[in-house]
């Protein structure tokens, strides 16, 4: 179970941050607004704070008496706290800065001539992003995905705060490792660490194979 939970959390956090950060980064690079400056600072926040603090903040916000919590309670008395969705949310907040900065670096590396060429040809900003920027930035984008996914696997401070450690419901590999180590159960901890590393290496391998595929496609068409 912890393995499945971890995978759910890491994968959905990666996908969601990707889909959120990509348009934001793209938009902010294209126009240098002052608003962007504020947003970037905000985005750094979860990085400079200990994850536990981020978790505590989210707990208060989405708790029964918090603003977010009361709002969500309007929908069939829904609550994020002590659920897997809560863990996903916490992880998203923690990994978002990494994803954002990595994507920004990737987008910045795309030759502006290509963007101009697409624009002149009548491409909308979104089409330019999809057809020109992403394919040319893919190496950097993939590294951003890898970093985010792996950090999502390892994160436990914030999600433990928001989702708690409920066996069979919100336990993840990272929290299980943490608890078994603290409880002196080194063998379980080692086993679970091994699992996490394996997942990480699989992700790396996947990316490696994907890269090779793309390179081969380019070369031996």
């Amino acid at each position: 179970m912890p393995i499945i939970h971890s995978l759910i959390i890491a994968i959905s956090a990666t996908l969601i941050t990707f889909l959120v950060a990509l348009p934001v980064a793209y938009f902010l690079i294209r126009r240098h607004t002052h608003f962007g400056w504020v947003l970037e600072s905000l985005l750094l926040l979860p990085l400079v704070l200990p994850p536990t603090v981020v978790g505590l903040f989210l707990l208060q916000l989405f708790g029964k008496f918090g603003f977010g919590g009361r709002f969500l309670a309007l929908f069939h008395n829904y609550s994020l706290i002590f659920t897997l969705s809560g863990a996903v949310l916490a992880t998203i907040i923690v990994v978002l800065p990494i994803m954002y900065q990595a994507l920004k670096a990737a987008l910045l590396s795309v030759d502006s001539n290509l963007i101009e060429a697409a624009t002149v040809m009548g491409a909308t900003p979104f089409e330019t992003l999809r057809l020109v920027v992403i394919p040319n930035a893919y190496q950097g984008l993939i590294i951003g995905l890898l970093l985010t996914f792996c950090r999502g696997l390892g994160e436990f401070g914030a999600s433990l705060m928001v989702a708690g450690y409920i066996e069979g419901k919100t336990d993840t590999i990272a929290t299980s490792i943490y608890f078994s180590i603290q409880g002196g159960d080194t063998s379980t901890a080692l086993l679970l660490s091994g699992v996490n590393i394996l997942i990480g290496v699989c992700a790396l391998l996947l990316i490696h194979l994907l890269n090779q595929q793309i390179e081969r496609k380019k070369q031996q068409l």
Partner: protein, 211 residues
């Protein structure tokens, strides 16, 4: 099309003043290296903003510094062959040429027969499935020319389109371009070249930029 623009700062503190009314279909643009030919095309395309002036095209105001009008490039219905080509390095020759088809917002009709003819004339068949990064200089040049010609734009801007081709290919490319223009009378074209013969093959309307 009427043009009256001035630019200074974005030209390394050189000065470019240019005024013209273009009524014919084909114009050649000549001038010594660094005089501002590329800059002028970029201004027309809306990629560089002139400091003062006004550009209109078929009753439509594209640019007016005084009124702060500046139509975005994508609505100007252009074909632009860049001096440094700006081919998409992640795509094959064919995908570069057919890039227009993937744009949904501003579809342009590209008929397959016409495309096939361009490709054959420019001797590109054998390379269509290659990524453009694996093409020779001259092959890339032809892909870029093909990409610009195929778009059937309102205004076609060709920046040194025939450079780097051997005499035989150059002649073929010139003839082809002439053909395309003859078939699409609605397309106005400005051709930049440093060779007078390349221009005179098309037209006697020469716009000269001088220092």
């Amino acid at each position: 099309m009427t043009l009256a623009i001035a630019i200074h700062k974005q030209m390394n503190a050189r000065q470019l003043n240019f005024t013209a009314t273009l009524t014919e279909q084909i114009y050649g643009l000549m001038g010594p290296s660094g005089v501002g030919k590329t800059t002028l095309l970029r201004i027309i395309a809306g990629l560089t903003t002139a400091e003062t002036g006004r550009i209109t095209c078929q009753e439509q105001v594209w640019f007016d510094a005084a009124q702060k009008i500046n139509l975005p490039p994508k609505t100007r219905r252009l074909g632009f062959m860049f001096q440094d080509l700006a081919l998409f390095p992640h795509l094959t020759a064919q995908a570069n040429i057919e890039f227009y088809r993937r744009l949904k917002a501003q579809p342009r009709q590209v008929d397959t027969e016409f495309e096939q003819q361009l490709i054959t004339e420019l001797e590109l068949e054998a390379y269509l499935t290659r990524p453009v990064t694996q093409l020779s200089g001259g092959q890339r040049q032809r892909v870029a020319l093909c990409r610009a010609l195929i778009s059937r734009p309102q205004l076609l801007l060709l920046d040194e389109p025939f450079t780097g081709l051997d005499d035989q290919l150059r002649q073929r490319a010139i003839d082809l371009t002439k053909n395309v223009l003859a078939k699409t009378p609605g397309t106005q074209v400005i051709i930049v070249s440093h060779r007078r013969d390349e221009i005179t093959a098309f037209t006697d309307n020469i716009l000269a930029l001088e220092r």
